[in-house]
């Protein structure tokens, strides 16, 4: 028993590790297998699915296996932990199962010119990440896998990266889901700080505490931002249609069982923690409702079948979101059931559209008509999936739609305005009914376009469009069979997958049965109403199209997105050009003006009186004269600075006057040093200036010069005040006293400055000498490399 437990725990880890390792090995295995590399991916997905099946015993016994590793931060309670409760396990099974079908399909779908190994590597990486999301027991691990699905789906969507549209779509998907990912990260951090844990089971157990926390609303909003962006909920829905630039098997995978489903998966995950709060209901259900209607309406406007499917996915995700928002047991059941149903029929539909595209070279619904004659099997399979999507009895979609209606009607007792919800539900379902018919009836019936029969220029099949080989049909057939099986005998699946999944989403075991016939109830009447209205609208669909054209919105989320990106680049460009303008004056101004302001504030706050020295020594006449000369000389530098040579010479005079000051203050050695430096500097200056024009043109306006003068004077005054403060402080100087005392006995020198330079602080001197050496080296390089360049010319 214990051994078995450990085995199943390891199996849990392998569910993710197998696709991951298979992906990493793909480039190498691809060299051996060549074209057949797809089967490698099929095998990996199948193994993952098999491992999950092997866990079913412990899942059903309500004792989910847990595997965790002490990473990344067990000290913080942040572990990469996996567990297979009903929700994650059931979802994982769907991911790995549909993943297997997709790999089989893709193996036959891809042309030989395409980099197959790379494709399957991305696909397996993505699958592994997705399995990680659904099996994570800790929000930190979930976020890590979550972001990985964003990154890997980016590579998948942009697989045909030489196409501009593919790049655009991939970039958009990454940015929007990346935005949500960041919000989710922030939300998880808040949860961690609020609760001290990110373990999902513990959070579920302490749901009341989470809901009572003052941070509840920010946490909710941040986490939901993650959900809504990922699941393409309004107003973040617009990335999904552009993601259709991916190869069709990828779209089928991403938009039926994975990626966008990660959002609603998380919704189900946090459902037991968050449900019941008013904010949860209003935000989640309203957004879901808006998305459902908008998606279904949008689907009808599309002529590209893949775009139609994209909008239909948005709409179905909206429906699921809406249901989770209600937070009741029935709603949780309906939503969870619909997630699985939708995965089956939507994957089937995508794959069918892929077949049609593959065979005819087009996905335009205006051109595609009457294909049933040429591809009868495809037509049947598409029919099953499309009617399931429409919610026709005997198919799985009907059952979950009934539950949906039941939940909507259940609340009408609260007041007449609650009829709003079933009304909108019917509205959305009618539109769904119509676009599903368009997919099936529109494409496969009617008069065959003769163009299609003869023109094979665009077709990637050979000759006339026909049913493809088994490799592309079989996956669709399996999905269609599931739709039928669940629709007619909904007995087995609820025991196996749905039971534990609903129990996990609700938080405790739920007692339910799903029946095909449950009497003449309100939901059934609504279903009939939906079908009749749908048929009428489908019959009159050209009128609908007219209405839609008239109502066409002048700008949508896409326009805003494009404008925002353009605005971002332009706006930041302008800002950056303004700041980084290449002008030293502006750089210095921006750097120093704030310093003057801050220092003035500090001095002002501290009170001027504190920094004013108590007494000044009297000013000797010689000092006064010197000071006057110094000021005059300094002003002269400013006055003559356009004459380079004169300015340098006057500057030298200033330096000389300073050295005289030192002399007066009885520091002859300093004076000597200063004089020496001044002399050398002037000589160097003169040598350089020799090569330059004698005078500088006036490069600045009066205003600029005034501003600069203001800054200079301000800085000078502030520094002057600070120096006065130093004088006022007049603190004891133990270090200086020590130098004075120790210079001769311990340093062996009478000149204290010298002893400081070569002994007490000789290390500084070493550094300064090195600076001079490096400067010489740099100057040498500057001159030599420059001259060499000229020689070459």
């Amino acid at each position: 028993m214990v051994g078995g437990q450990i085995l199943s725990v390891m199996n849990l880890m392998w569910v993710i590790a197998v696709p991951l390792l298979a992906a990493l090995a793909t480039p190498l295995v691809g060299r051996v297998l060549g074209r057949a590399i797809g089967w490698w991916a099929v095998a990996a997905s199948l193994v993952a699915a098999g491992l999950l099946v092997s866990l079913s015993g412990s899942v059903h016994s309500g004792n989910p296996p847990v595997w965790s590793v002490e990473w990344p931060a067990p000290d913080w309670g942040m572990r990469l932990a996996l567990y297979a409760d009903g929700w994650g396990w059931g979802f994982g099974l769907v991911v790995a199962g549909i993943g297997t079908l997709i790999c089989i399909y893709a193996q036959h779908y891809l042309s030989d010119a395409e980099p197959r190994a790379r494709f399957f590597m991305y696909l397996l990486l993505f699958e592994s990440a997705m399995l990680g999301v659904v099996l994570s027991a800790n929000l930190v691990g979930l976020v890590i896998f979550w972001e990985l699905t964003s990154a890997t789906s980016f590579l998948l969507i942009g697989f045909w990266h030489t196409q501009e549209r593919a790049r655009y779509g991939a970039y958009k998907a990454l940015l929007i889901t990346g935005l949500g990912g960041l919000a989710l990260v922030a939300g998880v951090v808040l949860i961690y700080l609020a609760m001290g844990t990110t373990d999902i089971r513990e959070l579920t157990a302490r749901a009341g505490e989470v809901q009572a926390h003052p941070w509840f609303v920010p946490i909710l909003v941040l986490v939901l931002l993650g959900v809504f962006t990922k699941s393409a909920q309004f107003p973040f829905h617009f990335w999904l249609p552009d993601a259709m630039t991916a190869p069709t098997p990828v779209s089928a995978f991403l938009h039926s069982a994975t990626m966008v489903k990660a959002g609603v998966f998380l919704l189900g995950r946090i459902h037991p923690i968050f449900r019941g709060r008013e904010e949860w209901f209003w935000i989640v259900s309203s957004v879901g409702m808006a998305t459902m209607l908008l998606g279904a309406y949008g689907a009808l406007r599309k002529t590209d079948l893949k775009a139609l499917l994209a909008y239909s996915t948005i709409s179905q995700l909206g429906l699921i979101t809406l249901l989770y928002g209600f937070g009741t047991q029935l709603a949780a059941l309906a939503a969870t059931f619909h997630i699985f149903n939708h995965a089956a029929f939507k994957a089937g539909l995508f794959l069918t559209v892929g077949i049609v595209d593959h065979e005819t070279g087009t996905r335009d619904k205006r051109v595609l008509k009457g294909l049933a004659k040429l591809m009868p099997i495809t037509a049947v399979l598409c029919g099953v999936c499309a009617l399931a999507s429409a919610g026709v009895p005997l198919l799985n979609g009907f059952l979950s739609k009934e539950l949906f209606y039941e939940e909507m009607v259940a609340h009408t007792g609260r007041g007449w305005w609650w009829w709003w919800w079933p009304a909108m539900a019917v509205g959305g379902s009618v539109l769904t009914f119509v676009y599903s018919l368009e997919l099936f009836h529109g494409v496969f019936f009617g008069k065959l376009d003769p163009h299609l029969e003869t023109d094979h220029g665009q077709s990637r099949g050979h000759g006339q469009p026909h049913d493809p080989g088994w490799g592309m049909l079989a996956p669709v057939a399996i999905l269609a069979a599931i739709c039928l099986k669940v629709g007619i005998w909904p007995g087995g699946i609820e025991r196996y997958i749905l039971d534990p999944a609903v129990a996990a989403v609700w938080g405790q075991p739920v007692d339910f049965t799903i029946k095909l016939w449950h009497g003449f109830t309100a939901p059934l009447i609504l279903s009939i109403l939906t079908a009749i209205t749908g048929l009428v609208i489908y019959w009159q669909r050209h009128r609908l199209a007219d209405v839609q054209t008239r109502l066409a919105w002048p700008f949508g989320a896409n326009t805003i997105y494009d404008a925002a990106l353009k605005g971002l680049v332009n706006g930041t460009g302008k800002l950056t050009d303004a700041l980084q303008n290449g002008r030293l004056r502006s750089y210095l101004w921006l750097a120093l003006a704030p310093v003057v302001v801050v220092l003035t504030l500090i001095l002002g706050r501290e009170g001027w009186s504190r920094i004013w020295p108590a007494q000044f020594s009297p000013l000797a006449p010689a000092e006064a004269v010197l000071l006057g000369l110094l000021i005059v000389a300094t002003l002269a530098v400013v006055a003559v600075n356009q004459q380079r040579l004169t300015a340098v010479i006057v500057l030298g005079a200033v330096g000389a006057l300073v050295s005289v000051f030192y002399l007066v203050l009885s520091a002859p050695d300093l004076a000597l040093t200063q004089l020496l430096i001044e002399a050398i500097t002037i000589i160097l200056f003169l040598l350089v200036l020799w090569q330059l024009p004698k005078s500088v043109p006036a490069l600045s306006t009066r205003g600029e010069r005034f501003r600069d003068a203001l800054l200079a004077v301000g800085f000078g005054v502030v520094m002057c005040l600070v120096v006065l403060a130093v004088a006022a402080a007049n603190v004891p100087k133990p270090v200086a006293d020590f130098y004075e005392a120790a210079s001769l006995p311990r340093g062996g020198g009478r000149n204290i400055v010298n002893v400081i330079l070569i002994d007490f602080r000789g290390f500084d001197t070493l550094g300064e000498i090195t600076v001079l050496g490096i400067a010489a080296l740099g100057a040498l390089a500057l001159m030599k490399l420059r001259r060499r360049k000229e020689d070459r010319r």
């Binding site: 067990p74 960041l182 501290e606 080296l777 740099g778």
Partner: protein, 496 residues
């Protein structure tokens, strides 16, 4: 021997530089070999130092054996050891890259000794325990940086050199003024001694201490390239060859951040509120202004240079929290980003070398012709943007945790949002240069250049794998830094 360990990271590159300059001047091959061997030796020394100090000991090395606070002393703790090692690992990668990337002209014109001198300046700054001595090492760093920046005398290098030098010298002047004021207000320059004296300062000397704090904040922000003191960086860093700008981008600005970590908690224990608020505000603005500067660039290394400003903003914000969690976050972030940023600069170097172009718009389809490079960029780029499972994700998490902990919602929100802009700009490089129709030439790239990139990217991956121990170490480091008493005891009591 171990008593002399703290000074070895200073003497070693100095001796190496002199040997390269005086003995091996004629042979480029010998210079290469000796530089590399010496650098590996330095790594070994620093590993030993790290092992020694990881227990929490503060090593004090008194130069000339003058008792504190009268002589200059070196002071090595966990942070110093981290910085030293970080600098030399980055140096190994850039040196390897330089073997493939640099033209012989530059190699002959003393690239290798100058590189060692730069390392000398950095190491000195990481080890000194004296505020004026820190200034000296700043000067060594500055002049070596300038020499390397202009090495080759291309027009662009010379143009970028002027603002670089002018602004950095302004910084130096302020530093000198601050050091003078500090001495005037307290009578000492020893950091540990200052810790006691600035806390006790009153009257006019308290005002001067505040002024000096602000001035030093400005100086370090200059060096670290924080808003509004960063203007020298985006023009300067892309100008020299990739190997040089990679080292600048990875390490050179960190000396400013290091100084903040070292100086503010220790030297000005009473000025925390002032420093913290200033750092957080400047950090927040830098995050945005830097990343906004990056998103509108098309030249890769210039784009990356703007990112430095933004990333330094993260560091400043986390550091400005001045909590243990905040400082630890800053340290972890710094480790992560030094490696990743240097790696990205090197990727850019390979791209330029391969295609002969430096603008993302003129390069295309690299994924087909250089899949390995694409993989390396993808990892490093996403890591910089803070996506898991690489080091950047964890670095971002610790910053956000520390920020929310102190209820700094606005600044933390900005930090989160900056991640999105970073992602935008990284993927801009990806989708223009790695995807799309092939554009630009395809020239052979020496393998050693790839190896250098791989080394750094591998480090980033490893740091994610060992997040917990590294972060725990960062946390201990932060705790040590925020308890100035330990330094005072080590320097003034035991160091006597």
């Amino acid at each position: 021997m171990s008593a002399h360990l703290p000074i070895l990271p200073i003497l070693w590159p100095l001796a190496t530089a002199l040997v390269l300059l005086l003995v091996l001047r004629r042979s480029v091959a010998a210079q290469r070999a000796f530089s590399l061997v010496s650098l590996l030796g330095l790594v070994a020394i620093e590993v030993a130092l790290l092992l020694w100090l990881s227990g929490g000991e503060i090593a004090v090395y008194r130069l000339g054996n003058w008792e504190a606070p009268f002589g200059i002393l070196l002071m090595a703790d966990r942070l110093s050891a981290i910085m030293l090692l970080l600098a030399s690992i980055t140096a190994v990668a850039t040196l390897l890259f330089a073997f493939g990337d640099l033209d012989e002209r530059r190699e002959r014109m003393h690239f290798y000794p100058l590189f060692q001198f730069l390392l000398l300046g950095l190491n000195g700054a990481f080890l000194t325990g004296d505020i004026f001595n820190l200034f000296v090492w700043y000067e060594v760093t500055l002049i070596a940086t300038y020499a390397l920046l202009t090495l080759g005398s291309e027009a662009r290098q010379l143009r970028a050199g002027l603002p670089f030098l002018a602004l950095n010298l302004t910084g130096s002047t302020l530093f000198l003024a601050a050091a003078g004021l500090i001495y005037g207000a307290t009578g000492t320059l020893n950091m540990a001694h200052l810790s006691v004296l600035t806390a006790a300062a009153d009257g006019a000397s308290a005002v001067v201490v505040q002024v000096a704090t602000v001035l030093l904040l400005v100086v370090f922000c200059f060096k670290a390239a924080l808003f509004p003191l960063y203007f020298w960086l985006p023009d300067g860093y892309p100008a020299p060859p990739a190997a040089i700008s990679a080292f600048f981008g990875g390490v050179a600005t960190k000396v400013g951040v290091y100084s903040m970590m070292r100086v503010f908690p220790l030297v000005f224990p009473e000025q925390r509120a002032l420093v913290g608020e200033g750092l957080m505000a400047l950090g927040a603005v830098s995050m945005l202004v830097g990343v906004w500067g990056a998103v509108c660039q098309t030249e890769i290394r210039r784009l990356l240079s703007f990112h430095i400003v933004s990333q330094i903003g993260y560091l400043a914000f986390a550091l400005g929290l001045l909590t243990e969690a905040g400082v630890a976050a800053a340290i972890f972030y710094m480790i992560h980003y030094t490696l990743v940023k240097c790696g990205l600069f090197l990727v850019a170097g390979v791209m330029e070398r391969m295609t002969g172009q430096n603008s993302v718009k003129k390069i295309g389809g690299l994924m087909e012709s250089a899949p390995a490079l694409a993989a390396l960029f993808f990892v490093a780029g996403l890591s910089l943007a803070g996506l898991p499972p690489w080091s950047g994700f964890f670095a971002k998490i610790v910053v956000v945790v520390a920020g929310f902990q102190q209820e700094r919602y606005l600044y933390t929100g900005i930090a989160v949002l900056t991640g999105l802009f970073t992602l935008f700009s990284m993927m801009k490089i990806w989708h223009l240069s790695f995807w799309g129709e092939p554009a630009g030439e395809r020239r052979p790239v020496p393998r050693v250049m790839y190896g250098a990139v791989a080394l750094l990217v591998a480090c980033s991956v490893i740091f994610a794998a060992v997040f917990q121990p590294v972060h725990a170490f960062a946390r201990q480091t932060a705790a040590q830094l925020l308890a100035p008493d330990n330094y005072v005891r080590a320097v003034l009591w035991e160091g006597r």
